[in-house]
């Protein structure tokens, strides 16, 4: 069983919601990534998303854009991201790792090479923001061969008919984008999120996680009424961005302190 599936099976048995946390690989500098990943897992992150640095993160708000810029200023790349995952796996064999990013760096590496090397490094899933199902072949085929889940987005604007098509191709879990906007936006409406998720729930057995705009334990709890988990990104990335001169362990600890109360809120 894939780590993602096992993770959700365990959570279901424990009647717990998934906490999914996010950082950008190499932000605010390369040495900070690995200790922060371990701290995230230690503080209760069930799944970790690692952003692949890209020069033009079109779907991201200012907070995560800046993280991409900081990482790229340190020559972060997809290749170095995979190396980081490989090193992480030496000490952590359980926490699912999902790479999140944009198509171009992956296309540049080559879809087939990427799928093979990502699997070898210990990656469990990918979310490629600008690769909707219509454009996902031939990458999908290579990912399937490599045993990597392609996690698709559902949005407030996704029609039921389209959602049926998306869930038929999706693996791992579905990522529901809580609002019309970019990452880190602040206008999320819990009622409409819960309603929309229960509609999508009818169409699939895959877990559904909700993300974009979750900045506190309270929001995380409110938005996961019908969802299986919450994704927290900009909140953590913002903190990391404020600590470019600090020691890696200090950055990891600060992120851990932000995660702990969200974990507690989701479990309460």
């Amino acid at each position: 069983m894939n780590r993602i599936a096992r993770c959700f099976a365990d959570l279901k048995q424990a009647r717990r919601k998934a906490l999914v946390t996010y950082l950008v690989s190499g932000d605010p500098f390369p040495e900070a990534t690995l200790p922060t990943l371990h701290k995230m897992a230690e503080q209760g992150a069930d799944i970790i998303e690692i952003g692949i640095p890209f020069s033009d993160p079109m779907a991201d708000g200012p907070t995560i854009q800046l993280a991409h810029e900081r990482a790229l200023a340190h020559k972060a790349s997809l290749r170095r991201t995979l190396e980081t995952v490989r090193t992480f796996r030496q000490d952590n064999v359980d926490t699912p790792i999902v790479l999140m990013g944009y198509d171009n760096p992956i296309e540049r590496m080559g879809y087939e090479t990427f799928a093979r090397e990502a699997a070898a490094a210990g990656v469990d899933g990918v979310i490629i923001v600008d690769l909707p199902p219509e454009e996902a072949e031939p990458l999908n085929g290579y990912l399937q061969q490599a045993g990597i889940e392609n996690i698709f987005l559902l949005a407030p604007t996704t029609t039921a008919e389209r959602a049926r098509h998306i869930v038929s191709l999706a693996g791992g879990f579905l990522y529901y984008v809580s609002l019309k906007g970019v990452t880190g936006a602040g206008h999320v409406d819990a009622n409409s999120v819960n309603q929309k998720i229960s509609q999508f729930r009818e169409l699939t057995d895959l877990p559904i996680c909700v993300g974009f705009g979750i900045k506190s334990g309270d929001t995380a709890r409110l938005l996961t009424e019908n969802a299986d988990g919450a994704v927290v990104g900009s909140l953590l990335v913002d903190k990391m961005g404020q600590m470019p001169g600090e020691a890696p362990e200090k950055i990891a600890a600060a992120v851990g302190e932000l995660i702990a109360p969200i974990r507690a809120a989701l479990d309460s």
């Binding site: 033009d56 810029e69 171009n104 992956i106 987005l153 559902l154 949005a155 604007t157 984008v177 019309k180």
Partner: protein, 403 residues
């Protein structure tokens, strides 16, 4: 008719030109693109819509724009006859208005009261602000912070027209970042906002509808050439940034096998220096801004900074139909450096009394190279896509003057 290849049947239903084009956007925008595509499919063959578009083009833009025989330039070059398609004489001074009128008419049909645009040199921003003023629409224009500085007159023009210009400080602070920011705005305000993209790039159906609106250039030029010269031209030359003026000129001629086509990219300081904006000449295929096309990127797939003296060509991608026409070999893509374009800018001004835009000066510079290699009975049509008033400060600065 022999069995020539059909170059005008694309994009496919899902928006592809061979391997290029498509829809590489976040899920939230798919529905809006579906709606736009449905609306455009319905209206593009609707006689009322076309009549309204044609009416605006003739009475508001001032079309048809002349096809002008540049006699003195022709004599001096001593080769093929040079005709200039005078898009510089359009209202607002460039070809951009053809497209903004078309898209604003689409916006009107959606009932959305707010339009947004990205702009590089400011010509598309001005054209969008213009049509927004005329239709009473709210208008916000995203412009790279560096471009805001180097195109100050156009920034003020947009403000006078009632548009808000939003300087974009992320990334390389030029056109590509303005487009990122416009996309972010659109994804946030998708319910009440129409995004007027300025070139033949972006997700399907934009490359198609912008091409269709700009094709008026080539349809007129073809007819005018037949009337004025009694025959088709032998060659077409147009500058290519995103590529909307070029595709507008080329498209109606694609089936005319005898007509050679040259798309002129910005060679900047020289393609060999890496400081240029010529993805078709020196880039590789990738995905940016919603479509697959030729891009300027590094070995990690990061988009790299471009350089051109002309803000309107300073873009690391190019419309997907150009990418396809390059691979098909139907259009030749070449590059002209900053200094060559500047020389053509000065020469056209002195020889013909026409101050061309720096963008169009790239096309003129290539025509200067091409003409002497051709016979005196042959014809080159150059798309003079815009006028150079907006570039006076840039050129003056290079001359060491402050206006």
């Amino acid at each position: 008719m022999n069995m020539t290849k059909n170059y005008t049947s694309l994009p496919s239903a899902d928006g592809h030109f061979g391997p290029y084009g498509g829809r590489f956007v976040a899920e939230t925008l798919i529905e809006a693109l579906d709606d736009l595509q449905a609306l455009y499919s319905r209206l593009k063959d609707d006689p009322d819509f076309q009549a309204e578009f044609d009416r605006d083009l003739s009475h508001y833009v001032g079309r048809p724009s002349p096809l002008y025989f540049a006699e003195r330039m022709t004599r001096e070059l001593g080769g093929a006859q040079i005709y200039l398609k005078r898009e510089d004489l359009n209202h607002t001074g460039a070809h951009k208005i053809n497209n903004t009128i078309g898209q604003a008419l689409l916006a009107k049909h959606t009932g959305k009261r707010r339009v947004i645009a990205e702009t590089g040199a400011g010509q598309h921003g001005v054209a969008t602000a213009t049509i927004a003023a005329r239709l009473g629409l709210q208008c916000q224009v995203y412009m790279g912070a560096d471009d805001v500085k180097r195109q100050a007159p156009n920034v003020y023009r947009m403000k006078l027209l009632g548009a808000e210009v939003i300087p974009v400080t992320s990334g390389s602070r030029t056109l590509k970042d303005a487009m990122n920011e416009a996309m972010r705005d659109w994804v946030t305000n998708v319910d009440d906002t129409f995004y007027i993209i300025g070139t033949v790039a972006g997700p399907h159906p934009y490359p198609q509808l912008v091409r269709d609106f700009q094709s008026i250039i080539g349809r007129e030029a073809r007819e005018q050439c037949l009337t004025q010269a009694g025959r088709l031209p032998d060659a077409l030359v147009a500058c290519v940034g995103g590529g909307s003026n070029a595709i507008g000129l080329f498209y109606p001629f694609l089936g005319d096998e005898s007509v050679a086509m040259y798309g002129v990219e910005a060679g900047g300081l020289g393609v060999e220096t890496g400081k240029h904006a010529a993805p078709l000449s020196a880039g590789i295929p990738g995905v940016l801004h919603g479509n697959r096309t030729y891009l300027m990127e590094d070995e990690d797939g990061q988009i790299i900074e471009t350089h051109s003296v002309s803000a309107g060509l300073d873009y690391p991608g190019v419309g997907p139909e150009h990418a396809w026409l390059k691979d098909e070999g139907r259009v030749n893509y070449v590059a002209i450096n900053d200094d060559e374009a500047l020389a053509a800018f000065r020469k056209t001004t002195r020889t013909e009394g026409i101050i061309p835009a720096l963008e169009s000066s790239h096309a003129l510079a290539y025509a200067e190279k091409l003409a002497p290699t051709m016979g005196k009975d042959q014809i080159i049509v150059v798309n003079l896509s815009g006028r150079g008033d907006k570039d006076l400060m840039t050129v003056a600065e290079l001359d060491g003057l402050t206006l």
